[in-house]
Amino acid sequence: MQLYGTEIASRLMLGTAQYPSPSVLAEAFRRSGAGIATVSVRREASGARAGAAFWDLVRDLDVTLLPNTAGCHSVREAVTTAQMARELFDTPWIKLEVIGHADTLQPDPFGLVEAARVLTDEGFKVFPYTTEDVVLAGRLLDAGCEVLMPWGAPIGTGLGLTNIYGLRTLRAQFPEVPMVVDAGLGLPSQAAMAMEMGFDAVLLNTAVAKAGDPAAMAEGFAHAVEAGRLAFGADPMEPRDMAAPSTPLIGKAFLE
């Protein structure tokens, strides 16, 4: 899978927040084989280099880092956070979050497009956290985004893919654009479903970090992502209304 020209081996991405400890975080990454780690810049960065010790631990994971603008509620805040992230992590990649609603943490579509345009103009490679809205997706692509990160459900809810129709439409409208289902996944089966639908990767955090055994859950998600991707590439059968036996019935000896 290529994201902004960079080859990424794993289709599973993990966040780095809320784990019981950095050691558990590292173990979850090891067992998941995740290739990208997202890091939240805003809160930890309250004082210049104050979060340096934790970030060093994250760097030691030896995966590609994708800083995010989690918790930003305005274009200006998101842009400033992105600039800080570029300096701190020496990368033009930024997962762009512009939150529009404090309770659902739903993206602000208008601010998102504006911030994406500003950041793209400044040379950033923007990964926008967006809804499944097709029109909004088009505007983000117009603004210069080459990857989209539609939500499955609101952040941290674990509800899975709440608008399957919308996600299918989005996938079908822009078949060439790499898309990562980001947020709302709670179980590996939901990740497998996203991959079966042809999404290129999934990103999750809470489902792993808040599990009783985060490392085991991370490995579970890795298997699910692998299973879903294989199924997508294997051209699945179409569902049908009538039962169709896989072995012929005619000629069976003991049919009643």
Binding site: S21, R43, S46, A50, G51
Partner: protein, 325 residues
Amino acid sequence: MTQARVIGGGVAGLCVATRLVERGYEVTIFDPSPRPGPHGCSWWAGGMLAPFCEGETAEEPVVRLGQEAAAWWERQGVTLHRRGTLVLTLGRDRRELDRFARRVAGHEMLDPAGLAALEPDLEGRFNRALHVSGEAHLDPRAALIHLRDRLEQAGVRFVAEPGRPEGLTFDCRGLAARDALRDLRGVKGEMAVLHSADIRLTRPVRLLHPRYPLYVVPRADGLFMLGATQIETDDRRRSVRSALELLSAAYALHPAFGEAELVEIGADARPAFPDNLPRLVRRGETIHVNGLFRHGFLLAPALARLAVEAASDSSKPEFWHEDHD
């Protein structure tokens, strides 16, 4: 008499010194600040001795060794309240309580009547609650001062200097020991102290919330300590955001906190290793006692016991790291 130095007069240093005195050592404590106070992160602790509740996220040794804490503090003559912990959720987060119950041993699920019987002032506000009865709480500042004064009476020398290792030395400096312990990092915790005459609680209350978890620890004279923030930074500034979170969560727990007096807001960075478990790191004749994370008053008694035993009988206890660099 065998001599021992303790560097750092926080909860780790005072517990180690107490164990050393018990074993007949002649002890000198070095700390630039002569008395327990706001310079050390022990000062900002909640004082919950809650090994079972901490087991929601902490590793097994915290649950096991933390169970030693209450009896130890009691033996030192510290005032201790064995009234358990109450765990609550707001209406729409009620499933958090089921998750917590699955992961935490020794709890009992209470109905509204059961909750009202334990804490009358919370009557009618919550449909269910967990009571973890085998837990306790203390006033951490009073406990530090008590240990310190008792050590002085026992002949321990307090030297108001940074202190250097010499002979048998227990380095209990916390985050200041980062010059020697490279894995150590700061995890910021913020707290507030409120005064209210309108509400009475007799045991710590934990409010589970996916974004703004809170604990409230009652102290004497109508004081309540609020805490729970945990941020990966060694920045010690008191942030408006954390204050808003703590105070809003307290208000959601009981509106009486909205009318309370804001007595104090504090913040400090707690020393932690990557697994958030403490370590005993030996270098020559120095033993580092560090990484107590958010479990200072809970784990310092056990960690001090292991450290002093190791020094006396050359055992290699749990959390032991030999370090030769």
